[in-house]
Chain length 353, copies 4
Amino acid sequence: MNNYSKAGPGPSLRAGLIGYTGYSGAELAGLLGRHADVELVLLNHRKAAGRAPDAAPVACGPHGARTIPHIPWEPRAIQSNKLDVVFTATPPEISQELVPEILAQGARAIDLSGAFRLPTAAEYQRWYGAAHAHPELLEQAVYGLPELHRDKIRTASLVANPGCYPTAAICALWPLLKNDLVDRTAGVICDAKSGVSGAGKNPSPKTHFVQVSENFSAYAILKHRHVPEVLLNAGVDESDFAFTAHLLPTQRGILATHYLRLKQPMSLDAVYDVYRAAYAEARFIRLYPAGSTPQLATVNGTNYCDIHCTLAPDGRRLVVISCIDNLVKGAAGQAVQNMNVMFGLDEAAGLLP
Amino acid sequence: MNNYSKAGPGPSLRAGLIGYTGYSGAELAGLLGRHADVELVLLNHRKAAGRAPDAAPVACGPHGARTIPHIPWEPRAIQSNKLDVVFTATPPEISQELVPEILAQGARAIDLSGAFRLPTAAEYQRWYGAAHAHPELLEQAVYGLPELHRDKIRTASLVANPGCYPTAAICALWPLLKNDLVDRTAGVICDAKSGVSGAGKNPSPKTHFVQVSENFSAYAILKHRHVPEVLLNAGVDESDFAFTAHLLPTQRGILATHYLRLKQPMSLDAVYDVYRAAYAEARFIRLYPAGSTPQLATVNGTNYCDIHCTLAPDGRRLVVISCIDNLVKGAAGQAVQNMNVMFGLDEAAGLLP
Amino acid sequence: MNNYSKAGPGPSLRAGLIGYTGYSGAELAGLLGRHADVELVLLNHRKAAGRAPDAAPVACGPHGARTIPHIPWEPRAIQSNKLDVVFTATPPEISQELVPEILAQGARAIDLSGAFRLPTAAEYQRWYGAAHAHPELLEQAVYGLPELHRDKIRTASLVANPGCYPTAAICALWPLLKNDLVDRTAGVICDAKSGVSGAGKNPSPKTHFVQVSENFSAYAILKHRHVPEVLLNAGVDESDFAFTAHLLPTQRGILATHYLRLKQPMSLDAVYDVYRAAYAEARFIRLYPAGSTPQLATVNGTNYCDIHCTLAPDGRRLVVISCIDNLVKGAAGQAVQNMNVMFGLDEAAGLLP
Amino acid sequence: MNNYSKAGPGPSLRAGLIGYTGYSGAELAGLLGRHADVELVLLNHRKAAGRAPDAAPVACGPHGARTIPHIPWEPRAIQSNKLDVVFTATPPEISQELVPEILAQGARAIDLSGAFRLPTAAEYQRWYGAAHAHPELLEQAVYGLPELHRDKIRTASLVANPGCYPTAAICALWPLLKNDLVDRTAGVICDAKSGVSGAGKNPSPKTHFVQVSENFSAYAILKHRHVPEVLLNAGVDESDFAFTAHLLPTQRGILATHYLRLKQPMSLDAVYDVYRAAYAEARFIRLYPAGSTPQLATVNGTNYCDIHCTLAPDGRRLVVISCIDNLVKGAAGQAVQNMNVMFGLDEAAGLLP
């Protein structure tokens, strides 16, 4: 089952999506709906349904857009629709219900929630404040950051798609940390800023336009539930790491500014070389040339993670900036990238023109 | 009771405010709290309470800001606090409960809802879709647009503070209509655009930042409940009037563009003269010089209504633009202006520096 | 030369683009760069060059994005690069220089400026305030709104791509006017609102973020240079038409609200039927169902023009709303659509997934 | 000259302002124009003139706004207008010309540029890339942060009004650093985010609405010219300090997030007590209660600097957030506060209601 090979032209991978009304799910439905190798089925799950969208306008003349079927979710839908893979863009407690059913029916699963990102039930309990319903799956799940774990993802049955903040932070920090170039005793700092879609589609006083526009604020200072993903995957101890989230008055995009100190003085070129080596196979990591300015506008709408380094004259104090679109590389695009890796497709299929 | 006279320096008018958590109420609390002639009491009404605001920062050193008392609303609070006037910034059905109690206790009332703006219970039923609880007060209520009804407001016990859209539309249209200069058969059009605070503080999918930012939409096309106020006060028949509301991605401000045809050709100067004559006593109507561009930025945060006219070469087709801050001239500022008129204060007290 | 037929798979139409640093030109470079049937060459013209963009980030791993050649513009470049078509996204006075050179070299031309949209040099002089350098081309040019002029566009050597406001206004008004359903004596009104990219990329006090954000203003009231395109193509006299432009605090998008009166009472269904008939072949006109709300978010990033009608109870006063992305259907997308029609490609190639 | 005493009611301090078309200067003109103790004269300086503003609307009825005289700047204007103090909101090279003339005429000067903030010509040369025209004044100038230097400001002839970023950073860092509570070897980090008005009123590609909206970017990483002010006044070595500036898509406001490590574990209460003690006289420093969220909306339009601390469980890693309005506490409001201190007025006069 796991060795998928595409035979001939036309869509040949069959994918299901549960949870397509939230921001990540809607973005994923769009990406999969345009993916040349994928035939998509939307699986309507009661608890993940959300409100009905407003009536949409209808084209007058002939229009060739693919029609995407909507059917009710039930485990048998996997076999009756011959689904190879099912995406769950649902809250973590619902994902915990659905994923075992998906796997039991013989499909592979890519979960966009935080349900399967941590390695133990104890960690999950600590950071999510609830017991995990299926701790046995935590061991089996592979953390879906292809830039770090491509080989494991290839054969995984269950991929835990990373959080948006962790994607930005890990991509920025991992190359230097894994090469043991960082003086951890000086602290590793991630000051992250995210657009409002990161807070979800549920209306609340905090996401009201009048509250957000012309405003900017910090939240979850030193205690965001995305922190343990960073610790585990970038390789840094909790006692050495500081994380602050901020809410930008933008629809999307994360820019994270990292501060760290190198063990030994390096040149900026040498620092960039570390990234080049670590990401030699990474098609979605881009390095910003020195002197230019990283910005959300360059990554929004893409699956790229852009990285930029600035070194102090002492050759040790380093500022690393990473930018992603929180709904693409931070969610839906990365999920597609994971699917591509899992099924032997071109890793950039459906993500680059 | 109605002949208030200020004796000596310092605040001497005692005002109560019910409903201070919505946008208009909060704006009004700010204006009244800084008004040199007013001592303000906030009256906490259960149904109008809203959620508690976030904890606010506290100044370190000595700070001289007036402390505004919060007390529970009950009718007896009017006499025990010697209130001269009570503002109600509450939904229309609550205003209908509260205003009779306020008047019965001997205070004057200024209501910011739509509860008392229409002259008959039948009209109210038609536009608000509900029966009016106190039709007998509709006759007594004075429509609180001082530029039109200053004399009646002076002695009114109950003032119905106008809607935000009607304030912009009536100020733009009334001078030409009352002088019978408009060819009504060609239609009188008001194309109005408002910032999001006009939609209220309640979070909803329509006010979510991600929905509003970089977006613009029309709503309530030809059927806004503010229409009858315009018809009655500007003096135009429903069959000759067209109104469309639009939602701007801004926090505040209304700009309304009006299209009409004059009966006889006029010069632009003559048109402006009509406005100058109609508003000779109006301190908050400003006329834009020809050639310049009206904009929200010039009125936001003020009680002004700015007006600008453009005449086609035929001297008959006319575009009249009016701009207000929907929360000031369209709500709280106008309520203060009404209070100033009712109690013989300087009409601009607390509204101009 | 004009009967282009695509032989076999892969890009086979060769296109040049002069002027790719402005908003429309950059959008067009993006659309053509991803168009499966087009091989694009960017032609660097000194006067249209603009400032060099900031240095862009570079992908670490292998990346398959097509490289688009940049070469200096000179007339001989057309033959040496075997260009079938050249787009000019340049100011009108530069387009007047370039287009005759392009045509003389045997390529077809699509001009995005206003240089060739009006039928006579006198009209051009009146609205653009300058003499036209090549009046002989005005007769030859075809107005590139495929929904109206598809047949003429097919064989045209020179297509004048419409303005953004006219695209929105003509699509909304033309079906009713050409069927003589409108009482023109009551006036035809277009109240149009556009995002800031419509004002061009040149920095000015009027496009500064601090000036635009949280602001909204009217401009070019009754005298925009886009007006004559509407008059000519929708079929309405200047004396019956009123147009006002407004600047929205958004990056893109136009929403235009039209007010008109029907000669005879109609039902809303009958009105929509007029549009359905007029646009039976139009793949980019979408009709909004009654009751729903048209908005920029639904068209931005697409080549659609969305249309929505509201009828007063008298069956005669009508509000027609149209929405487009000013850079796509209002500029670059429409230019691609014109190219598709001119060269016998699928009209939606490169514009729909 | 320096011992100003206010005699009787009404404005009695006479102030001049050179440079009133930029954002800071216009904000200052507004604050001084409403200040009950100040009579303001605008001094028109050729090089600082900027473009003429658009024509403004004119009130119809009587209006009592104070008329502020505009006269040409020349040194003799100081004596002929009996000016006690002159504000210069001009570029640093122009301030260096003007301030000696102002002082020579016997007025006191408050300069809003960076011309007099650094102690030596060498420092000025290093950070501003130009020779200082009047190094002798650098010694005489007092750094105008009243929370730190109130006593020196009282008697100063020349006050150098602080930069916006330094105001936010120094207010956040100084109490802990002066009490020697910080482990400087771990680094002191200031990650600062500012609204667009901080970039000045001059239109540029970087301040174009289309570039800024829905975007966010970092700039001046580790090398902003505001850094030396922070080092000198907060008391930290350049080798221990890291500063990054970011551009927010807002009109105003700075939020700066600081990361530092305490020498010894402390409780959060003890940390806040350090701030309370340091700012016991500071009327414009507000401390946010734990658990709440600092935000721009709470300080914009005010002269407050809001501060919020979060401590890690180890009692040593500390995040300090400070918020100011860059045009008020970061420029014009602080200039008024300095004037109040210099002339023995209530420190909050004209700044609190």
